[in-house]
Structures are given as structure tokens and as C-alpha cells.
């Protein structure tokens, strides 16, 4: 087949199935500006920043123009620069300009483009509204006055997460992004996944910041502050400090946390191993005793919330295993119960929904939560910067004993399919290296939103589905309810791609997400212990602290709310 080309700024660029000329232009190495284009969302075409000029002087929005062989466009003409500047000026004239105190300062797309296009003056009077904050959610904060109406959050919430907690309201210059009747977001069906905040180009939706309270706790001499680090964090943080995207920097994170002032540092992967054993046990138990199928994973708090709000009848399908974070937190509380100092339990998570999970009444004792603070990767980055730690030069350190060992199976929890793979490793009779490798190729790996596989167990085939993104989960459930699909085991992660793509992580593109996943698989490969049941810490726990208490400390029953 002959190749087809388009001329972009006089450069011939090959058309290779791109859906729009924006992708082609970016492929040509030109960073065409946009606010509202993301390849994973539908094309909205509202910001008009990506306009290009054809050879007849016609203007096209690159995001919504399909490439055609022989087409010629220019991306940087005087006219286009004038239009882009005018659009930016128009946006800024209606936008809060207190950049220095904005949560998004330095990461704001509007700020970045205003700088890039040299906007030194806005020729219109400033008509931005007073700050209008909704702080009702534990996971995210919204400020309508910083919204540029690109609609990214709306499409994310609806198209990818099928939640639809927010949508546009009103029209014209009164248009805004709003919940129904402008209710506080916490009163809606919002699951706290935070994907809206992740994709928001400005400070209109940001992750709730709890660092100020934590700093106070850290400076308190009477407390012992212990911290656990989720698997996904180690591959999501390095890029912010100039290291390659997806590189496993766990050792540096541990060292940084110690310098910040944490007393004990642990790895949530350890608890993930507990989850594997408990969940496998539950699954096999249901197989033997004839329980409810499919068994659906319970690690993801946004998924739990989604199920509670939309499919309460599925709560009995959901595993009673607490999430690794909560398992670890209970173990730590138990471990330190005789400590002479007040123990404060902190979790560094790639996830905004964990903030809500930590506050759930199921995970409290006498009104005191098992996890006192959930800090996202982004907040940790801020703390490291604030502490003046030069992250790229810090020497890696190991986590503390007695929970110092992890398995590869626990580490891959942070990527879609990881939980499933870990469980398969556990149930698989063949413990050889080749069998282990074979599992990786059963279809559990990869960033696609829906994966299916089946495994042989004691003469029967167990059908497994792995979904990430709540829309994918919802579609699967509907299919199941209609009888069009049947599964024994389903892994659900709310964020597309799993926890490495969590909204608490720094924002990255599809390529970056892939690298983060690969980083976790690398960590697994380097790990001496591959299977959860081989983790000596776990064995020790079952023989000691957990003896007779596994149900109390590791399981939970979510109940239908009236």
C-alpha cells in the first residue's frame, strides 16, 4: 500500500490512521496547544486553540479535522497567533488571576499557555467571579471561578466513569459546570475517583490538600507517625523530580519520608500480599461451599462507592477483604497498641478516593480512624519540595522492620490486572518459573480497559474479567445482568489503567501511564519473592499478630444504605 502524506508547515508527514490532524501535527513534533482535547475522551472542539490554516486561508480546528492526503496546513501563521492570543485574553479576562496562591500554580495549562504566547496585558476589564468553593468532598475541591468550561471533567465523569455527578448548567455566558441544583458534590453520586481533578487544566477542580494538618502532626513530639506507601506511588513520582517516567524510586521515597520526619516507613505491598491470601481463600471457599459469584475485588474505594450507590445488590458479590491500605492500617494499630506514644497512621496513595475510604465508619474504632491521613502522591511531592529535599540526589533506603519484606505479586497491585495476576499465582499449582511467566501472558497484562481470561483450576475453567474505568465496569455489569456474560472473578479498578493512573498521581499521558505500569512489572521481575504466600512477613503475621483475628482485622462487610 502506498503511503499517504500531509504537508504540515511544509513538512511531509505520513498519515498512519490518525483520527485527526492534531495527532498528526503532534507526531510531527509540534506542540499544538489545546485545553479540551484528550485522546481518551470524545472530541469536544470548544477551546479553539488548536486552529490551523489551510492553503486557502480557511481556519480549521485540528482536533476535529480528519487528515486527508495532500492536505496542506500551517500551524503558526500571524493570523493563528493573533487568534490564539485573543482566545487566551478572552479566557483570562474572565478568570481569577491570583496565580501565586492557586493550588494549580505551576501546573496550570492556562498559566502555561499565557506565558507561552506572551500575554502581558489583557485588554478587557476583569469580569471574573468571586471564588466559589465547594469543599464538601473529602477527595476534591472545586472552584467555579477558575473554570474555563473546557468540559474535560464533564466528559471524564460521564464517558469514562459513568458517574455523571457534574454536567454543564445554564448556557452562554452563564454556563458553568455544576451538580444538579448546585448541590455540594459530596451529596451527589460522586465516587471521589478524582479523575476530573486529574484532567482539569486549571485550578477549578483540585485534589483536596491535607498536608498542612499532617505537617502539624509530624512536628508533634508526642506522636509516633507511621506511614505506608502504595505500590503505584514509586513509579509515579520520579518524573516530577527529573527522573525518567515510570522509574521505580521506592528507596528514595522511603528516604525522603524519613527526612520529612516519619518515624516508621512501610510498604503497602506487604499488605497486598495479605489481600492476595485472604481473597484467594475467600474465592476458593466460595467455590467449595457454593457462594455467590462472581467474586468482585474490593481494593478500589471508588468502585466500592460506585457499587453502593448504583448496584447495592452487588455488595454481596464484593470480596469482604479490606483494601490493602486498610489491612495494613489495622495490622499497624494492632502492632502498636501498646505503644507509649500516640500512633498516627498515614498512607501515601495514588488515589483521591482513599481519603474518603479512610473516613468511612467501617474503618474506625471508637470514632478514631485506622488511617489518620491519606496523602496523595501529588501532596507528597509538595512536601518533599517544601522540605527542600533534593530527591534526585537522595540515597535510597529500605523500609522498616518488622514489615520489611514484600513480594512481586503485591507490588503489581498498582496496575490493572495486577490483583488478578497475584491471585492466579496463588491458586496455580505449578510453582515453576515457566508457569509464572506463562501467567503473565494469559491476557492479564496491558492497559486496555476490559480484559478477559480463564484459568484452569482443579479441572474446571474459571472465567476472569479485569476492568478499569467505571464505565467499563458498568457495561460489564449490565452485560452480566442481561445474561450476556458470565464470570467467576472480576477485578475492578475505577481509574483507567489501575492505580498507577490514579488521580492522586501527577498527570501523565497514555505513554506515561504505560511506563508506570511497566515500572511495576520491572519491580516484580527484580523481586526475589514472586508469590504472596512466600513472603516471610506474611507467614509471621499469620503465626502471630493475626492469629484468630484475621476476620476482625482483615475483613469488612459493606451494607446497603437505606
Amino acid at each position: 500500500m502506498s503511503m499517504e502524506f500531509m504537508l504540515i508547515d511544509n513538512m511531509p508527514v505520513e498519515i498512519a490512521g490518525e483520527a485527526n490532524i492534531l495527532s498528526l501535527i503532534r507526531k510531527a513534533g509540534i506542540d499544538l496547544p489545546t485545553f479540551c482535547y484528550y485522546s481518551e475522551l470524545s472530541v469536544y472542539g470548544a477551546c479553539r486553540m488548536c486552529v490551523v490554516e489551510d492553503k486557502w486561508g480557511e481556519i480549521h480546528a485540528a482536533c476535529s479535522t480528519p487528515p486527508k492526503a495532500g492536505m496542506e496546513v500551517r500551524t503558526n501563521t500571524p493570523r493563528l497567533r493573533k487568534y490564539r492570543k485573543m482566545i487566551l485574553e478572552l479566557l483570562l479576562s474572565n478568570h481569577c488571576r491570583d496565580c501565586t496562591t492557586c493550588e494549580k500554580n505551576g501546573k496550570c495549562k492556562l498559566q502555561e499557555l499565557a506565558q507561552r504566547f506572551g500575554i502581558k496585558q489583557v485588554r478587557f476589564s476583569n469580569t471574573s467571579e468571586e471564588s466559589d468553593m465547594d469543599t464538601s468532598s473529602l477527595c476534591i475541591s472545586r472552584d467555579k471561578s477558575k473554570c474555563i468550561l473546557c468540559g474535560d471533567c464533564v466528559r471524564m465523569c460521564e464517558e469514562v466513569q459513568n458517574v455523571g455527578a457534574i454536567d454543564f448548567a445554564f448556557r452562554g455566558s452563564k454556563m458553568c459546570v455544576s451538580t444538579a441544583f448546585d448541590e455540594p458534590i459530596a451529596n451527589t453520586k460522586c465516587v471521589g475517583c478524582g479523575q476530573c481533578a486529574a484532567i482539569c487544566p486549571t485550578g477549578a477542580i483540585v485534589v483536596k490538600n491535607d498536608t498542612a494538618r499532617l505537617w502539624k502532626e509530624l512536628s508533634n513530639k508526642d506522636t509516633k507517625v507511621v506511614v505506608q506507601i502504595a505500590p503505584a506511588v514509586r513509579v509515579g513520582i520520579g518524573k516530577e523530580f527529573g527522573l525518567p517516567e515510570g522509574e521505580n524510586v521506592m528507596g528514595r521515597v522511603v528516604a525522603a519520608l524519613r527526612r520529612i520526619g516519619f518515624d516508621e516507613v512501610f510498604d503497602t505491598s506487604t499488605a497486598a500480599d495479605l489481600t492476595v491470601l485472604e481473597e484467594t481463600g475467600e474465592f476458593l471457599g466460595r467455590l467449595q461451599k457454593g457462594g455467590v459469584f462472581p467474586l468482585i475485588t474490593s481494593c478500589c474505594p471508588a468502585w466500592i462507592r460506585y457499587a453502593e450507590l448504583n448496584y447495592p445488590e452487588l455488595l454481596e458479590n464484593i470480596s469482604t477483604c479490606r483494601s490493602p491500605m486498610q489491612m495494613f492500617a489495622s495490622v499497624l494499630k494492632e502492632h502498636y497498641k501498646h505503644s507509649n506514644r500516640k500512633v498516627v497512621s498515614v498512607a501515601i496513595m495514588p488515589c483521591t478516593a482513599k481519603k474518603h475510604e479512610a473516613a468511612r465508619e467501617e474503618f474506625q474504632e471508637n470514632g478514631i480512624p485506622y488511617v489518620d491521613y491519606v496523602i496523595t502522591t501529588q501532596e507528597l511531592i509538595q512536601m518533599i519540595r517544601e522540605a527542600g529535599i533534593v530527591f534526585s540526589e537522595i540515597e535510597p533506603e529500605a523500609v522498616d522492620m518488622p514489615f520489611g519484606a514484600t513480594s512481586g505479586a503485591g507490588v503489581i497491585f498498582g496496575v490493572t490486572g495486577g490483583v488478578t495476576e497475584a491471585v492466579i499465582r496463588r491458586v496455580s499449582d505449578d510453582k515453576s518459573v515457566s508457569a509464572l511467566r506463562a501467567i503473565a501472558f494469559t491476557g492479564v497484562r496491558g492497559m486496555q480497559g476490559v480484559k478477559e481470561t480463564s484459568i484452569a483450576y482443579e479441572g474446571r475453567q474459571i472465567k476472569v474479567a479485569i476492568v478499569s474505568g467505571l464505565k467499563n465496569a458498568d457495561d460489564l455489569i449490565r452485560k452480566m445482568k442481561k445474561g450476556e456474560a458470565h464470570y467467576d472473578f472480576i477485578e475492578v479498578m475505577a481509574c483507567p489503567g489501575g492505580c498507577v493512573c490514579g488521580a492522586g498521581q501527577p498527570f501523565t499521558n497514555a505513554e506515561g501511564k504505560k511506563l508506570r505500569g511497566a515500572g511495576l512489572y520491572d519491580a516484580d521481575r527484580m523481586s526475589n519473592i514472586k508469590r504472596s504466600e512466600e513472603n516471610p512477613v506474611i507467614m509471621a503475621l499469620y503465626g502471630g499478630l493475626l492469629k484468630g483475628k484475621t476476620h476482625k482485622l482483615l475483613h469488612v462487610h459493606y451494607h446497603r444504605k437505606a
Binding site: 486552529v51 487568534y83 474555563i148 448556557r171
Partner: protein
Amino acid sequence: MFLNREDLKTAHAVYKKSLDAQRKKILVCAGTGCVAGGALDIYGELIRLIEASGAGCSVSLEKEPHDDSIGVKKSGCHGFCEMGPLVRIEPEGLLYIKVKPEDCAEIVEETILGGRVVDRLVYKKNGQTYPTQEEIPFYKKQTRLVLEHCGHIDATSIKEYLAFGGYQAFEKALFDMGADEVVKEIDESSLRGRGGGGYPAGRKWAQVKRQKCEQKYIVCNGDEGDPGAFMDRSIMEGDPHRMLEGMMIAGVACGASQGYIYVRAEYPLAVDRLETAIKEAREYGLLGENILGSGFNFDLKISKGAGAFVCGEGSALTASIEGKRGMPRVKPPRTVEQGLFGKPTVLNNVETFANVPLIIRKGAQWYKTMGPEKSPGTKAFALTGNIENTGLIEVPMGTPLREVIFDIGGGIRGGAGFKAVQIGGPSGGCLTKEHLDLPLDFDSLKKAGAMIGSGGLVVMDENTCMVEVARFFMNFTQNESCGKCVPCREGTKRMRAILEAIVSGQGTPEDIDMLLELADTVSSTALCGLGKTAPSPIVSTIKNFRKEYEAHVIDKKCPSKTCQKLKTIYIDEALCRGCSKCARLCPVGAISGKVKEPFAIAADKCIKCGACIESCAFKAIKED
């Protein structure tokens, strides 16, 4: 219920006979305008009086007509709304204007029974009387094709439409022509969409026909949102079956089995008439399954708008039918590929569909004998504003503007001079004296920086401030902007703010350049057609009336003395008696003076509220 072609043919003959049997026909205009003037009372009164007189009164066509009966009908809009309520009497063709219920007795007595004209009810102009409709200058120069039935048939009766040869074109398309030939005929007629852009209808139909897809849709755009336009409303109210027939023919041509009519909510009467028409067409077997035994299925649904001008845009309209916010989407895919519910869709406006039966019946060659080669046919216009004969007219494409305004429209109301005409509504532009000989067709108007739009002509006299007109339109566009794309949402807001500043005396000469810069950005980068054309009123008024803008921003004067804030209010010393009433009333204390001596207004304090002017018993306070 017609089961086959023969049934339809028979019905044509039966109802024609029944119609012919009516000795006299009284057509009471029941368009929105005349209904508001009491037309329904007149209709009721006429029936009552004729029945009382003992003459046979028939309100609907019967299969077995009584000879010698008198038909009383509710017709669609006659177009001459200024003179409503209107009553037409056939076969004489008399047109009675401004009729009141109390006139009915005389009409029945004199005209219907006595055969005499009631002189005081006929149209008079410049000392001349015009008893028959066809003589009246307003009608004389028109060519009514699409509107041929409006005012002449009972808009609520399928029987009358059949009696007038209705659904013959559909029959021909269905049985004699077939899809290919219909598309070819429409293509050859060069019929262009009457909704604004003037895209060739035949090309659109061919594109939809080509799509390999089970489900296709025919959608009629009846969201006539341009202020000052009511052509489509008049067709929907006055001749609904004609539009239905056009859509059905499109269904045959494109292989669609479902049609939607999107009507704006401001047209309740049109919705009513369309509902009746669809119901009757179903009852007669002209809509539904296996129509006339041909195997062709087609049905229609009405979708009522909920108040959004932007829904006149194709993709916003289909979004609205789908139950979404009426926000235009990016194209491609185009409506012909993925329109309503993602399926191939023919989207034309009311007038376009109303042209179709005529073309099918009389042929493309006949159609092309009217108007210029590239814009053949006729065009309906709504003539409004400062014009003598407000109303609905239809002329061949290419008719010069002068003829429309002065011959048909009767010139400027109140004797002032002609200044400009806004054509194409908020998306269009203004035409001035120098354009008076411009032929009204798609291409000539485009060249002049205006557009035919849906066909609203708002005439403005010398006392109109063009800056204020631009502000009015920009206010409209801003209120109706869907808010999706940045240039339209934010740009129109800024343009409106600048125009508001200019008309209130706060403008600067730089504002004019800023308006043009914003207009360029918005028209080049906005997402949809409405956004792209939103700055047109500004661009065209600056182009044609730049001096007027300059007077506002440099001299701080409104040449047409329209802008309140640019007026100078002063006290005529010769008339002022020094009563001090104005000084006491002035809200800002701008008036001072000694009692019994002439007072004066401090120009720097005056806010031009005009309170003093009204208060002065001696008319001593004047505006300039």
C-alpha cells in the same frame, strides 16, 4: 383510509367536486396574527349567521356535497398581517381588511347573499380602492408558489389539500419515479436550502441516499428563531400538508422511514396544525406502514423546542431532538453521514420541503424558469420594521430589493427616509440605499456581505441608530450563545460590552478597531455557523455606517438621536418660567437657577434620565 393509488386518485376527484360545489367560500385568516386580532370569533360568527340565514353552510368537504352551499374555512396566513384580521371571499377574490365580529352581519347580508361589495372593508390607498386581493399592490407584484395555498385553503383539512391536488406529487414520486429519479429531479431543479446557507437540497439528498444504513431520518427544521422572520410559521400554520408531503417525498428519495419536525415552542398554533395534519394523514393511510400498498413506510413525529435559538443549527437541533443540550458539535461527521441518533439525516427547513411537491409535480425545468440560474425559484420573506405593509411575501429569487421595499412593502412607514434593511437576522448584515437595486438571491447577497438567512427583512428608517441596532443583535446573540466555544461565549460578551459602552457615551475610537479584531477572531474560529456569523451585524454596520460609530465615540453624539445617554438636554431660556419644578425633581441635582429666572442644566452632572423633560409644564426642556 387509502389502500392503494386508486383510492387516492378517487379522493382527489371527490373532494375537488365537493369544493367546486361550494357557491361561495369565505376564508377567515387564522394565522397567529389574525387570531390575535379576533379571527376565531369572526369565524364563529360567520358560521352562525349563515346557518341562521338558511343558506347551506359547509365547514368541511363532504363526499356527497350539497349543491349551492357556502364554505366557511379557517385559512392560513394571507401575509398582509398589518391589515388583519382578514377575510377573503371567493370566487370574487374580495379581501376584507380589519374585520370585526360586528362586521359579519353586513358581510353575510351584503356580499354573500346580496352579491355586493362592502366598501368600508376594502383596502384603500392613496385615494384608490382595491376590492379584490389580487389588485392590491402588496399582492400584485408577488409570485406565490410556496404560499399559494396560504390564505386560500382550509389549513385544518386534509380534504381541502386533496381537493387542491395535494399528495399528487408524493404519489408520482412513489409510483412513477422512484428514489433515483426523485433525487435527480430535485438536483436538476437546483433547489437550494431556504434555511440560511443555501446548500443545494438535491446534493444533500443524494449524499444521504448513498449511505448504506438501515435507519435514516428526514428532519424538518421549523426552529425559525431569527427575530423578525415568520415565513416558516406561516407555512406550518397555513399549509401543513404541503410540508409533510415534501418530507414524505424526501423519505422516498433517501430511503428513510421516520421523520421529525422540530418546531419552536413559541409557535403553539403551528404545532397544533401540524399535529392535526399528521393525524389526518395517518388516518388516510398517507403516513404509516405500507403506504398506498407500495411497501413504503414513513411516519412523522413532532419535537417541540424549549427555547434556544441555537437549535436552528443542524447539530444542535438533532441534539435537542435526542434530549440533550442544544450545543452544536464539531464536524465532521456531517449530518448527512451521522445526524440524528448518529444516523444519516436529511435536514432541511420548512420552506425547502414546501418547495418539493411543486418541483416534483411540475418538473425541474419549469422550476428553473423562475429566478437566477444558480438560485432558482421563489423566496418567502417576512417584511417587518418601519415599513408600511408589514407581512409575509413571496417573490422570485433575484427580485431587486427596491421592488420588495417600495412596491410590495409600500415604502417607509410614517414618511421618513429609508436607511437600511437588516437581512438574515442576527447572522446577516445590513443593506443600504446603494444596495437597493441588488437582486435578492443567495450569491448576490453573500457578495454584499449579507445573507438571505431564513428571509427576515427588517426595514429601518432614518431615525434608527445603526450602532444601537448592532448592540441589539449582539445582545441577542450573546443571550442565545450556547456557551460551548470560547470565541463565541466570551467574544460576543466583549463585543456587546463595547457596544453598550459606545451607545452610552463611554466609547473610544480604539473600540471600533477592537470590535473588528474580535469580530475577525470570532468569525474565523467559532465552532458553529451561528458563532461564525454572530459578528456580521457589527462588521456590516461598521462597513456601511462607520461615520455613525465615529460620531458616537469621537463627538459623543448619536446622529439619529436614539441613544439616550448621548443626548444633550438643555433648557430653552425663552420658554423657561423659572418654576424650579425640574430642579426639585432632578435625581442628581444637575439643574439650578433662581426662581422666576431661566434655569440651566449642568451638562457634566446630567445623567440624561429625561425626568425633567416630562415634568416641565412649559415644554422648555429640550433634547438634542
